[in-house]
Protein backbone atom coordinates (compact mmCIF):
# COMPACT_ATOMS: atom_id res chain seq x y z
CA UNK A 1 0.00 0.00 0.00
CA UNK A 2 1.53 3.33 -0.98
CA UNK A 3 2.61 5.61 1.83
CA UNK A 4 0.59 8.75 2.18
CA UNK A 5 0.75 11.87 4.24
CA UNK A 6 -1.26 11.80 7.47
CA UNK A 7 -4.24 14.11 7.42
CA UNK A 8 -6.62 15.61 9.91
CA UNK A 9 -10.06 14.19 9.34
CA UNK A 10 -13.46 14.01 10.97
CA UNK A 11 -15.15 10.68 11.70
CA UNK A 12 -18.01 11.56 9.38
CA UNK A 13 -15.59 12.52 6.61
CA UNK A 14 -13.67 9.29 7.09
CA UNK A 15 -16.94 7.41 6.72
CA UNK A 16 -17.57 9.10 3.38
CA UNK A 17 -13.98 8.47 2.26
CA UNK A 18 -14.23 4.83 3.33
CA UNK A 19 -17.40 4.40 1.33
CA UNK A 20 -15.77 5.90 -1.75
CA UNK A 21 -12.70 3.69 -1.30
CA UNK A 22 -15.01 0.69 -1.14
CA UNK A 23 -16.55 1.60 -4.46
CA UNK A 24 -19.68 3.40 -3.32
CA UNK A 25 -20.88 5.74 -6.05
CA UNK A 26 -24.42 6.45 -4.91
CA UNK A 27 -25.56 8.46 -1.93
CA UNK A 28 -29.11 9.40 -1.07
CA UNK A 29 -29.96 11.05 2.20
CA UNK A 30 -31.67 13.72 4.16
CA UNK A 31 -29.29 15.81 6.28
CA UNK A 32 -29.51 15.61 10.06
CA UNK A 33 -27.13 16.55 12.88
CA UNK A 34 -24.73 14.94 13.74
CA UNK A 35 -24.45 13.02 10.46
CA UNK A 36 -24.56 15.90 7.98
CA UNK A 37 -20.83 15.93 7.22
CA UNK A 38 -21.14 12.49 5.61
CA UNK A 39 -23.61 13.97 3.12
CA UNK A 40 -21.51 17.10 2.66
CA UNK A 41 -18.41 15.12 1.84
CA UNK A 42 -20.29 12.81 -0.51
CA UNK A 43 -21.88 15.79 -2.27
CA UNK A 44 -18.44 17.30 -2.76
CA UNK A 45 -16.73 14.11 -3.91
CA UNK A 46 -19.21 11.99 -5.85
CA UNK A 47 -19.89 14.17 -8.92
CA UNK A 48 -16.16 14.26 -9.76
CA UNK A 49 -15.79 10.49 -9.77
CA UNK A 50 -18.85 9.60 -11.76
CA UNK A 51 -21.09 9.07 -8.77
CA UNK A 52 -24.58 10.25 -7.90
CA UNK A 53 -25.60 12.35 -4.91
CA UNK A 54 -29.26 12.98 -4.22
CA UNK A 55 -30.78 14.89 -1.37
CA UNK A 56 -34.15 13.20 -1.03
CA UNK A 57 -37.37 14.60 0.41
CA UNK A 58 -37.00 12.53 3.59
CA UNK A 59 -35.30 9.54 5.15
CA UNK A 60 -37.85 6.98 3.98
CA UNK A 61 -37.27 7.96 0.37
CA UNK A 62 -33.49 8.00 0.92
CA UNK A 63 -33.57 4.43 2.10
CA UNK A 64 -35.74 3.43 -0.86
CA UNK A 65 -33.36 5.23 -3.22
CA UNK A 66 -30.27 3.37 -2.05
CA UNK A 67 -32.10 0.05 -2.31
CA UNK A 68 -33.07 0.94 -5.86
CA UNK A 69 -29.55 2.04 -6.75
CA UNK A 70 -28.12 -1.13 -5.29
CA UNK A 71 -30.37 -3.47 -7.19
CA UNK A 72 -29.51 -1.42 -10.25
CA UNK A 73 -25.87 -2.37 -9.74
CA UNK A 74 -24.35 0.51 -7.76
CA UNK A 75 -22.80 0.41 -4.34
CA UNK A 76 -24.96 2.67 -2.22
CA UNK A 77 -24.96 4.26 1.21
CA UNK A 78 -27.08 6.62 3.29
CA UNK A 79 -26.42 8.43 6.56
CA UNK A 80 -28.72 9.70 9.26
CA UNK A 81 -29.22 10.02 12.99
CA UNK A 82 -31.79 8.57 15.44
CA UNK A 83 -34.96 10.31 14.20
CA UNK A 84 -34.14 9.46 10.59
CA UNK A 85 -33.02 5.97 11.50
CA UNK A 86 -36.49 5.32 12.91
CA UNK A 87 -37.99 6.29 9.57
CA UNK A 88 -35.70 4.01 7.61
CA UNK A 89 -36.62 0.86 9.49
CA UNK A 90 -39.41 -0.35 7.23
CA UNK A 91 -37.23 -0.23 4.14
CA UNK A 92 -34.28 -1.79 5.97
CA UNK A 93 -36.55 -4.78 6.52
CA UNK A 94 -37.32 -4.82 2.83
CA UNK A 95 -33.61 -4.86 1.95
CA UNK A 96 -33.04 -7.74 4.37
CA UNK A 97 -35.93 -9.71 2.92
CA UNK A 98 -35.05 -9.04 -0.71
CA UNK A 99 -31.34 -9.51 0.12
CA UNK A 100 -30.22 -6.23 -1.39
CA UNK A 101 -26.82 -4.97 -0.21
CA UNK A 102 -26.66 -1.49 1.28
CA UNK A 103 -25.03 0.39 4.13
CA UNK A 104 -26.91 2.60 6.58
CA UNK A 105 -24.91 4.98 8.75
CA UNK A 106 -26.54 6.08 12.00
CA UNK A 107 -24.58 8.75 13.88
CA UNK A 108 -26.28 8.41 17.24
CA UNK A 109 -27.47 11.42 19.18
CA UNK A 110 -29.32 11.80 22.43
CA UNK A 111 -32.88 10.51 22.12
CA UNK A 112 -35.72 9.55 22.26
CA UNK A 113 -37.30 11.62 19.49
CA UNK A 114 -35.45 14.80 18.49
CA UNK A 115 -33.75 14.65 21.92
CA UNK A 116 -30.57 16.69 22.11
CA UNK A 117 -29.33 16.98 18.51
CA UNK A 118 -25.72 17.81 19.36
CA UNK A 119 -25.24 15.52 22.36
CA UNK A 120 -23.66 12.08 22.03
CA UNK A 121 -25.43 8.88 23.02
CA UNK A 122 -25.33 5.16 22.37
CA UNK A 123 -29.05 4.68 22.61
CA UNK A 124 -29.68 3.06 19.22
CA UNK A 125 -27.97 -0.28 19.87
CA UNK A 126 -31.18 -2.24 20.24
CA UNK A 127 -32.91 -0.25 17.52
CA UNK A 128 -30.13 -1.23 15.14
CA UNK A 129 -30.75 -4.85 16.10
CA UNK A 130 -34.54 -4.95 16.26
CA UNK A 131 -35.75 -1.69 14.71
CA UNK A 132 -37.36 -3.40 11.78
CA UNK A 133 -39.94 -6.07 12.46
CA UNK A 134 -39.66 -9.81 12.02
CA UNK A 135 -36.98 -12.32 12.90
CA UNK A 136 -34.17 -10.89 10.81
CA UNK A 137 -30.38 -11.10 10.82
CA UNK A 138 -28.38 -7.86 10.89
CA UNK A 139 -24.77 -6.72 10.92
CA UNK A 140 -23.88 -3.69 13.04
CA UNK A 141 -20.43 -2.12 13.39
CA UNK A 142 -19.41 0.46 15.97
CA UNK A 143 -16.06 2.25 15.44
CA UNK A 144 -14.06 3.96 18.18
CA UNK A 145 -11.79 6.22 16.15
CA UNK A 146 -11.64 8.11 12.90
CA UNK A 147 -9.43 5.48 11.29
CA UNK A 148 -11.64 2.66 12.54
CA UNK A 149 -14.59 4.48 10.97
CA UNK A 150 -12.73 4.47 7.67
CA UNK A 151 -11.95 0.78 7.59
CA UNK A 152 -15.20 -0.41 9.15
CA UNK A 153 -17.08 1.51 6.45
CA UNK A 154 -15.05 -0.39 3.86
CA UNK A 155 -15.78 -3.65 5.67
CA UNK A 156 -19.46 -2.74 5.84
CA UNK A 157 -19.70 -2.10 2.11
CA UNK A 158 -17.76 -5.23 1.16
CA UNK A 159 -19.64 -7.51 3.55
CA UNK A 160 -22.99 -6.16 2.51
CA UNK A 161 -22.08 -6.99 -1.09
CA UNK A 162 -20.72 -10.39 -0.28
CA UNK A 163 -23.56 -11.50 1.98
CA UNK A 164 -26.28 -9.50 0.20
CA UNK A 165 -27.27 -8.07 3.50
CA UNK A 166 -27.80 -4.53 4.80
CA UNK A 167 -25.05 -3.44 7.20
CA UNK A 168 -25.51 -0.72 9.78
CA UNK A 169 -22.63 1.49 10.83
CA UNK A 170 -23.42 2.81 14.28
CA UNK A 171 -21.33 5.88 14.95
CA UNK A 172 -21.83 8.27 17.81
CA UNK A 173 -21.64 12.06 17.90
CA UNK A 174 -18.18 12.00 19.46
CA UNK A 175 -16.59 9.82 16.77
CA UNK A 176 -18.60 11.44 13.97
CA UNK A 177 -17.59 14.97 14.85
CA UNK A 178 -14.08 14.72 16.24
CA UNK A 179 -11.07 15.32 14.05
CA UNK A 180 -8.07 13.08 14.39
CA UNK A 181 -4.82 12.33 12.66
CA UNK A 182 -5.23 9.48 10.17
CA UNK A 183 -3.24 7.98 7.36
CA UNK A 184 -5.41 6.85 4.51
CA UNK A 185 -3.95 4.67 1.76
CA UNK A 186 -3.95 6.40 -1.59
CA UNK A 187 -4.81 3.55 -3.89
CA UNK A 188 -8.41 3.01 -2.99
CA UNK A 189 -9.00 0.34 -5.63
CA UNK A 190 -7.33 -2.13 -3.30
CA UNK A 191 -10.32 -1.88 -1.05
CA UNK A 192 -12.98 -3.11 -3.40
CA UNK A 193 -13.83 -6.73 -2.96
CA UNK A 194 -15.30 -7.93 -6.24
CA UNK A 195 -18.27 -10.20 -6.17
CA UNK A 196 -18.22 -12.96 -8.73
CA UNK A 197 -19.98 -12.22 -11.97
CA UNK A 198 -20.10 -15.86 -13.00
CA UNK A 199 -23.66 -17.06 -12.71
CA UNK A 200 -25.38 -20.02 -14.35
CA UNK A 201 -27.84 -19.50 -17.19
CA UNK A 202 -30.62 -20.64 -14.89
CA UNK A 203 -29.96 -17.85 -12.41
CA UNK A 204 -31.69 -18.18 -9.06
CA UNK A 205 -31.21 -14.98 -7.07
CA UNK A 206 -32.44 -16.71 -3.91
CA UNK A 207 -30.81 -20.08 -4.46
CA UNK A 208 -31.50 -22.54 -1.65
CA UNK A 209 -28.00 -23.96 -1.97
CA UNK A 210 -26.45 -20.84 -0.56
CA UNK A 211 -25.01 -17.48 -1.42
CA UNK A 212 -25.59 -16.24 -4.98
CA UNK A 213 -24.19 -12.96 -6.22
CA UNK A 214 -26.73 -10.32 -7.11
CA UNK A 215 -27.01 -9.76 -10.82
CA UNK A 216 -28.34 -6.23 -11.21
CA UNK A 217 -31.92 -6.00 -12.30
CA UNK A 218 -32.22 -5.72 -16.06
CA UNK A 219 -28.84 -7.25 -16.84
CA UNK A 220 -30.01 -10.37 -18.66
CA UNK A 221 -31.63 -12.40 -15.91
CA UNK A 222 -35.30 -12.39 -15.04
CA UNK A 223 -36.31 -12.50 -11.45
CA UNK A 224 -38.75 -10.91 -9.06
CA UNK A 225 -38.06 -8.68 -6.05
CA UNK A 226 -40.48 -8.55 -3.16
CA UNK A 227 -40.75 -8.11 0.58
CA UNK A 228 -43.00 -11.16 0.69
CA UNK A 229 -41.51 -14.55 1.38
CA UNK A 230 -40.47 -15.87 -1.98
CA UNK A 231 -39.15 -18.88 -3.87
CA UNK A 232 -35.72 -19.21 -5.46
CA UNK A 233 -36.72 -16.88 -8.32
CA UNK A 234 -38.20 -14.28 -6.03
CA UNK A 235 -41.89 -15.02 -6.62
CA UNK A 236 -44.17 -14.79 -3.58
CA UNK A 237 -44.98 -17.89 -1.62
CA UNK A 238 -46.76 -18.74 1.60
CA UNK A 239 -45.81 -22.39 1.58
CA UNK A 240 -44.83 -23.16 5.22
CA UNK A 241 -41.73 -25.34 4.54
CA UNK A 242 -40.45 -22.84 1.99
CA UNK A 243 -41.05 -19.92 4.35
CA UNK A 244 -39.12 -21.67 7.08
CA UNK A 245 -36.27 -22.58 4.71
CA UNK A 246 -35.96 -19.01 3.46
CA UNK A 247 -35.71 -17.56 6.93
CA UNK A 248 -33.19 -20.21 7.93
CA UNK A 249 -31.13 -19.42 4.88
CA UNK A 250 -30.80 -15.68 5.52
CA UNK A 251 -29.69 -16.45 9.06
CA UNK A 252 -27.33 -19.22 8.00
CA UNK A 253 -25.35 -17.04 5.64
CA UNK A 254 -24.39 -14.83 8.57
CA UNK A 255 -23.52 -17.81 10.76
CA UNK A 256 -21.32 -19.23 8.04
CA UNK A 257 -19.28 -16.05 7.74
CA UNK A 258 -19.45 -15.31 11.45
CA UNK A 259 -15.70 -14.98 11.95
CA UNK A 260 -15.40 -12.50 9.11
CA UNK A 261 -18.22 -10.44 10.51
CA UNK A 262 -17.51 -10.46 14.24
CA UNK A 263 -14.61 -8.15 15.02
CA UNK A 264 -13.33 -7.52 18.54
CA UNK A 265 -10.10 -6.44 20.11
CA UNK A 266 -8.65 -7.33 23.49
CA UNK A 267 -5.89 -5.44 25.30
CA UNK A 268 -4.59 -5.97 28.81
CA UNK A 269 -3.64 -8.73 31.22
CA UNK A 270 -3.59 -12.38 30.13
CA UNK A 271 -5.32 -13.52 33.30
CA UNK A 272 -7.54 -10.54 34.04
CA UNK A 273 -9.73 -10.21 37.10
CA UNK A 274 -11.67 -7.21 35.87
CA UNK A 275 -12.52 -6.72 32.19
CA UNK A 276 -14.30 -3.81 30.59
CA UNK A 277 -16.51 -4.66 27.62
CA UNK A 278 -17.55 -1.67 25.57
CA UNK A 279 -17.91 -0.11 22.11
CA UNK A 280 -17.92 3.18 20.20
CA UNK A 281 -16.49 6.31 21.78
CA UNK A 282 -16.67 4.74 25.25
CA UNK A 283 -13.77 2.49 24.19
CA UNK A 284 -11.54 5.55 24.31
CA UNK A 285 -12.29 6.31 27.95
CA UNK A 286 -11.89 2.64 28.84
CA UNK A 287 -8.60 2.36 26.96
CA UNK A 288 -7.18 5.37 28.79
CA UNK A 289 -7.98 3.60 32.08
CA UNK A 290 -6.76 0.14 31.10
CA UNK A 291 -3.52 1.44 29.61
CA UNK A 292 -2.72 3.23 32.84
CA UNK A 293 -3.77 0.36 35.10
CA UNK A 294 -2.17 -2.45 33.11
CA UNK A 295 0.80 -0.91 31.31
CA UNK A 296 1.88 1.34 34.17
CA UNK A 297 0.79 -0.62 37.22
CA UNK A 298 0.47 -4.23 35.96
CA UNK A 299 -2.97 -4.58 37.44
CA UNK A 300 -5.00 -7.63 36.33
CA UNK A 301 -7.35 -5.73 34.05
CA UNK A 302 -8.34 -5.86 30.41
CA UNK A 303 -10.52 -4.28 27.77
CA UNK A 304 -12.59 -6.08 25.18
CA UNK A 305 -13.73 -3.55 22.60
CA UNK A 306 -16.49 -4.59 20.26
CA UNK A 307 -16.20 -3.32 16.71
CA UNK A 308 -19.09 -5.59 15.83
CA UNK A 309 -22.19 -5.31 18.00
CA UNK A 310 -24.46 -7.61 15.98
CA UNK A 311 -24.17 -10.52 15.51
CA UNK A 312 -23.16 -10.27 19.14
CA UNK A 313 -19.58 -11.44 19.88
CA UNK A 314 -20.85 -14.24 22.13
CA UNK A 315 -17.78 -16.51 21.91
CA UNK A 316 -15.40 -13.69 22.73
CA UNK A 317 -17.43 -12.55 25.72
CA UNK A 318 -17.80 -16.12 27.04
CA UNK A 319 -14.04 -16.58 26.83
CA UNK A 320 -13.49 -13.44 28.89
CA UNK A 321 -16.08 -14.59 31.41
CA UNK A 322 -14.14 -17.81 31.99
CA UNK A 323 -11.09 -15.81 33.15
CA UNK A 324 -12.50 -12.70 34.73
CA UNK A 325 -14.38 -12.31 38.01
CA UNK A 326 -16.00 -9.07 36.98
CA UNK A 327 -17.11 -7.63 33.65
CA UNK A 328 -17.89 -3.92 33.59
CA UNK A 329 -20.06 -2.70 30.74
CA UNK A 330 -19.98 1.08 30.34
CA UNK A 331 -22.37 2.50 27.77
CA UNK A 332 -24.00 5.85 27.10
CA UNK A 333 -27.55 4.61 27.52
CA UNK A 334 -29.65 3.06 30.27
CA UNK A 335 -28.21 -0.41 29.64
CA UNK A 336 -28.58 -2.10 26.24
CA UNK A 337 -25.59 -4.30 25.40
CA UNK A 338 -25.20 -5.20 29.08
CA UNK A 339 -28.15 -7.57 29.06
CA UNK A 340 -26.67 -9.30 26.03
CA UNK A 341 -23.38 -9.68 27.89
CA UNK A 342 -25.23 -11.13 30.89
CA UNK A 343 -27.10 -13.54 28.64
CA UNK A 344 -23.86 -15.02 27.32
CA UNK A 345 -21.83 -14.87 30.51
CA UNK A 346 -24.46 -17.08 32.15
CA UNK A 347 -23.41 -16.18 35.66
CA UNK A 348 -19.76 -17.14 35.19
CA UNK A 349 -18.69 -13.62 36.10
CA UNK A 350 -20.30 -10.68 37.80
CA UNK A 351 -21.64 -8.26 35.17
CA UNK A 352 -21.67 -4.63 36.29
CA UNK A 353 -23.36 -1.94 34.18
CA UNK A 354 -22.06 1.64 34.07
CA UNK A 355 -24.55 3.94 32.44
CA UNK A 356 -24.56 7.58 31.60
CA UNK A 357 -27.38 9.30 29.72
CA UNK A 358 -27.00 13.02 30.31
CA UNK A 359 -25.54 13.72 26.87
CA UNK A 360 -21.91 13.60 27.98
CA UNK A 361 -19.20 11.00 27.40
CA UNK A 362 -18.37 8.51 30.13
CA UNK A 363 -15.12 9.83 31.59
CA UNK A 364 -12.05 7.72 32.38
CA UNK A 365 -12.49 8.70 36.04
CA UNK A 366 -15.94 7.15 36.15
CA UNK A 367 -14.56 3.89 34.81
CA UNK A 368 -11.49 3.79 37.03
CA UNK A 369 -13.64 4.51 40.10
CA UNK A 370 -15.84 1.50 39.50
CA UNK A 371 -12.88 -0.65 38.43
CA UNK A 372 -10.96 0.27 41.57
CA UNK A 373 -13.86 -0.86 43.72
CA UNK A 374 -13.67 -4.37 42.25
CA UNK A 375 -9.88 -4.57 42.33
CA UNK A 376 -9.46 -3.75 46.00
Amino acid sequence: MPETKPVLMQGNEACAEGAISAGVRFYAGYPITPSTEVAERMAARLPDIGGVFIQMEDEIASMAAIIGASIGGMRAITATSGPGFSLKQENIGYAIMAEIPCVIVDVQRMGPSTGVPTAPSQGDVMQARWGTHGDHPIIVFSPASVYETYYLTIAAVNLSQKLRQPVILLLDEVIGHMREKVTIPRDSRLMVEKSSDKVPADYKPYDEKGLTPLVPFGFGHYYHVTGLFHDQYGFPTGDPPQVERSLDRVHEKLEKYRDEVVLTNYIGHKEPRVVIVTYGCTVRSARAVVKKAYWNNREPVGLLSLQTLWPFPDKEVREIAKKADVIIVPEMNMGQIVSEVERHVKGEAEVVPLNRYDGEMISPDQISDIMGRWLS
Partner: protein, 194 residues
Protein backbone atom coordinates in the same frame (compact mmCIF):
# COMPACT_ATOMS: atom_id res chain seq x y z
CA UNK B 1 1.19 11.85 29.78
CA UNK B 2 3.72 14.62 30.41
CA UNK B 3 3.62 15.63 26.78
CA UNK B 4 -0.10 16.02 26.62
CA UNK B 5 -1.19 19.55 25.76
CA UNK B 6 -4.85 20.43 26.06
CA UNK B 7 -5.71 23.68 24.34
CA UNK B 8 -9.03 25.48 24.63
CA UNK B 9 -9.83 28.16 22.06
CA UNK B 10 -12.87 30.12 23.16
CA UNK B 11 -14.79 33.15 22.01
CA UNK B 12 -17.97 34.18 20.26
CA UNK B 13 -19.30 32.12 17.39
CA UNK B 14 -18.11 33.85 14.24
CA UNK B 15 -14.69 34.90 15.49
CA UNK B 16 -13.16 32.01 13.59
CA UNK B 17 -11.97 29.96 16.51
CA UNK B 18 -13.17 26.67 15.10
CA UNK B 19 -11.18 27.31 11.93
CA UNK B 20 -8.26 28.34 14.14
CA UNK B 21 -8.52 25.05 16.02
CA UNK B 22 -8.55 23.06 12.79
CA UNK B 23 -5.48 24.92 11.55
CA UNK B 24 -3.70 24.38 14.86
CA UNK B 25 -4.60 20.68 14.73
CA UNK B 26 -3.45 20.33 11.12
CA UNK B 27 -0.22 22.14 11.95
CA UNK B 28 0.41 19.65 14.74
CA UNK B 29 -0.29 16.78 12.33
CA UNK B 30 2.22 18.30 9.91
CA UNK B 31 4.63 18.54 12.82
CA UNK B 32 4.26 14.76 13.23
CA UNK B 33 2.26 14.78 16.44
CA UNK B 34 -0.94 13.04 17.45
CA UNK B 35 -3.95 15.30 17.53
CA UNK B 36 -7.62 15.23 18.40
CA UNK B 37 -9.83 18.24 17.75
CA UNK B 38 -13.34 18.74 19.10
CA UNK B 39 -15.68 21.72 19.14
CA UNK B 40 -18.99 22.92 20.43
CA UNK B 41 -21.85 22.21 18.04
CA UNK B 42 -24.81 23.62 19.94
CA UNK B 43 -26.44 27.03 19.51
CA UNK B 44 -23.44 28.55 21.33
CA UNK B 45 -21.35 27.88 18.22
CA UNK B 46 -23.34 30.73 16.63
CA UNK B 47 -22.64 33.31 19.31
CA UNK B 48 -22.08 33.62 23.03
CA UNK B 49 -19.35 31.37 24.34
CA UNK B 50 -18.21 28.85 21.75
CA UNK B 51 -15.34 26.46 22.29
CA UNK B 52 -12.90 24.37 20.32
CA UNK B 53 -10.54 21.93 21.99
CA UNK B 54 -7.28 20.60 20.59
CA UNK B 55 -5.28 17.87 22.28
CA UNK B 56 -1.71 17.38 21.11
CA UNK B 57 0.44 14.51 22.33
CA UNK B 58 3.36 12.33 21.33
CA UNK B 59 1.45 9.28 22.62
CA UNK B 60 -1.86 8.14 21.19
CA UNK B 61 -4.77 10.15 22.49
CA UNK B 62 -7.59 8.16 24.01
CA UNK B 63 -10.11 10.36 25.83
CA UNK B 64 -10.82 13.10 23.25
CA UNK B 65 -12.25 15.83 25.47
CA UNK B 66 -10.28 18.57 27.20
CA UNK B 67 -10.37 17.93 30.95
CA UNK B 68 -7.29 19.69 32.18
CA UNK B 69 -6.51 22.68 29.97
CA UNK B 70 -2.86 23.64 29.64
CA UNK B 71 -3.53 26.55 27.29
CA UNK B 72 -6.63 28.75 27.26
CA UNK B 73 -7.36 31.44 24.70
CA UNK B 74 -10.32 33.72 25.37
CA UNK B 75 -11.55 36.08 22.70
CA UNK B 76 -14.62 37.54 24.40
CA UNK B 77 -15.99 38.27 27.86
CA UNK B 78 -18.65 35.53 27.90
CA UNK B 79 -16.16 32.78 27.08
CA UNK B 80 -13.65 34.20 29.55
CA UNK B 81 -16.25 33.98 32.33
CA UNK B 82 -17.34 30.51 31.27
CA UNK B 83 -14.02 28.79 30.63
CA UNK B 84 -11.58 30.35 33.10
CA UNK B 85 -13.07 28.28 35.95
CA UNK B 86 -12.38 25.10 33.92
CA UNK B 87 -8.68 25.50 34.64
CA UNK B 88 -7.58 22.94 37.19
CA UNK B 89 -3.91 23.80 37.57
CA UNK B 90 -4.22 27.49 38.24
CA UNK B 91 -0.97 29.27 37.45
CA UNK B 92 0.37 26.48 35.23
CA UNK B 93 -2.13 26.90 32.44
CA UNK B 94 -1.13 29.52 29.88
CA UNK B 95 -4.03 31.99 29.71
CA UNK B 96 -4.15 34.41 26.79
CA UNK B 97 -6.99 36.89 26.43
CA UNK B 98 -7.91 39.42 23.80
CA UNK B 99 -7.80 42.57 25.88
CA UNK B 100 -9.79 44.39 23.20
CA UNK B 101 -12.85 42.42 24.19
CA UNK B 102 -12.16 41.00 27.63
CA UNK B 103 -12.10 43.42 30.53
CA UNK B 104 -11.33 41.08 33.39
CA UNK B 105 -11.32 40.51 36.28
CA UNK B 106 -7.72 39.35 35.85
CA UNK B 107 -7.00 37.55 39.08
CA UNK B 108 -3.31 37.40 39.75
CA UNK B 109 -2.98 33.68 40.46
CA UNK B 110 -4.08 32.85 36.91
CA UNK B 111 -1.14 34.79 35.41
CA UNK B 112 -3.37 36.03 32.63
CA UNK B 113 -1.66 37.65 29.66
CA UNK B 114 -3.71 40.16 27.72
CA UNK B 115 -2.94 41.28 24.17
CA UNK B 116 -5.04 43.67 22.08
CA UNK B 117 -5.58 41.02 19.42
CA UNK B 118 -8.70 42.27 17.69
CA UNK B 119 -7.57 45.91 17.85
CA UNK B 120 -4.22 45.05 16.27
CA UNK B 121 -5.99 43.11 13.53
CA UNK B 122 -8.24 46.06 12.86
CA UNK B 123 -5.58 48.75 12.98
CA UNK B 124 -2.55 47.05 11.47
CA UNK B 125 -4.07 44.60 8.99
CA UNK B 126 -7.25 46.53 8.39
CA UNK B 127 -9.34 43.42 8.80
CA UNK B 128 -10.81 42.13 12.04
CA UNK B 129 -11.45 38.71 10.49
CA UNK B 130 -7.77 37.80 10.80
CA UNK B 131 -7.89 38.21 14.59
CA UNK B 132 -8.07 34.42 14.88
CA UNK B 133 -4.75 33.93 13.05
CA UNK B 134 -3.20 36.74 15.02
CA UNK B 135 -4.32 34.96 18.18
CA UNK B 136 -2.72 31.74 16.92
CA UNK B 137 0.53 33.66 16.44
CA UNK B 138 0.47 34.95 20.00
CA UNK B 139 -0.50 31.52 21.31
CA UNK B 140 2.20 29.64 19.44
CA UNK B 141 4.81 32.23 20.34
CA UNK B 142 3.89 31.80 23.98
CA UNK B 143 3.79 28.02 24.00
CA UNK B 144 5.91 26.72 21.10
CA UNK B 145 3.33 24.00 20.42
CA UNK B 146 4.26 23.65 16.75
CA UNK B 147 7.35 24.69 14.84
CA UNK B 148 6.75 28.17 13.48
CA UNK B 149 7.48 27.44 9.82
CA UNK B 150 5.26 24.36 9.78
CA UNK B 151 2.51 26.41 11.37
CA UNK B 152 2.83 29.16 8.74
CA UNK B 153 2.63 26.60 5.94
CA UNK B 154 -0.42 25.00 7.49
CA UNK B 155 -2.15 28.37 7.58
CA UNK B 156 -1.52 28.79 3.88
CA UNK B 157 -2.80 25.28 3.27
CA UNK B 158 -6.10 25.74 5.09
CA UNK B 159 -6.94 29.43 4.85
CA UNK B 160 -9.73 30.31 2.42
CA UNK B 161 -8.43 30.61 -1.14
CA UNK B 162 -6.60 33.84 -1.84
CA UNK B 163 -6.24 34.80 1.82
CA UNK B 164 -3.23 32.65 2.67
CA UNK B 165 -0.66 35.42 2.72
CA UNK B 166 -2.88 37.83 4.59
CA UNK B 167 -3.46 35.22 7.28
CA UNK B 168 0.23 34.40 7.47
CA UNK B 169 0.92 38.09 7.93
CA UNK B 170 -1.56 38.18 10.81
CA UNK B 171 0.12 35.14 12.33
CA UNK B 172 3.52 36.87 12.19
CA UNK B 173 1.97 39.96 13.71
CA UNK B 174 0.85 37.75 16.58
CA UNK B 175 4.48 36.83 17.19
CA UNK B 176 5.40 40.51 17.23
CA UNK B 177 2.59 41.28 19.62
CA UNK B 178 3.80 38.55 21.92
CA UNK B 179 7.36 39.78 21.77
CA UNK B 180 6.29 43.30 22.66
CA UNK B 181 5.01 41.82 25.91
CA UNK B 182 1.68 41.69 27.68
CA UNK B 183 0.73 43.53 30.81
CA UNK B 184 0.51 47.15 29.76
CA UNK B 185 -2.41 46.31 27.51
CA UNK B 186 -4.55 44.75 30.16
CA UNK B 187 -7.66 46.67 30.98
CA UNK B 188 -6.73 49.65 28.79
CA UNK B 189 -7.79 48.78 25.33
CA UNK B 190 -10.88 47.00 26.57
CA UNK B 191 -12.65 50.30 26.40
CA UNK B 192 -11.80 51.07 22.80
CA UNK B 193 -14.96 51.34 20.73
CA UNK B 194 -15.82 48.39 18.49
Amino acid sequence: MGNRQEILLTGAGGQGLILASIILAQAAVNDNKNVVQTQSYGPEARGGASMAGVIIDIDTIEYPKVVNPTVLLSMNQASFNKYLPKIKRVGECVVIVDSTLVSGPFREEYKIRGYPITRTAREEVGKEVVANMLALGVLNAATGLVERKIFRDSIFELAPKGSGELNQKAFDLGYRLYESGPGQHIGQSAQTPQ
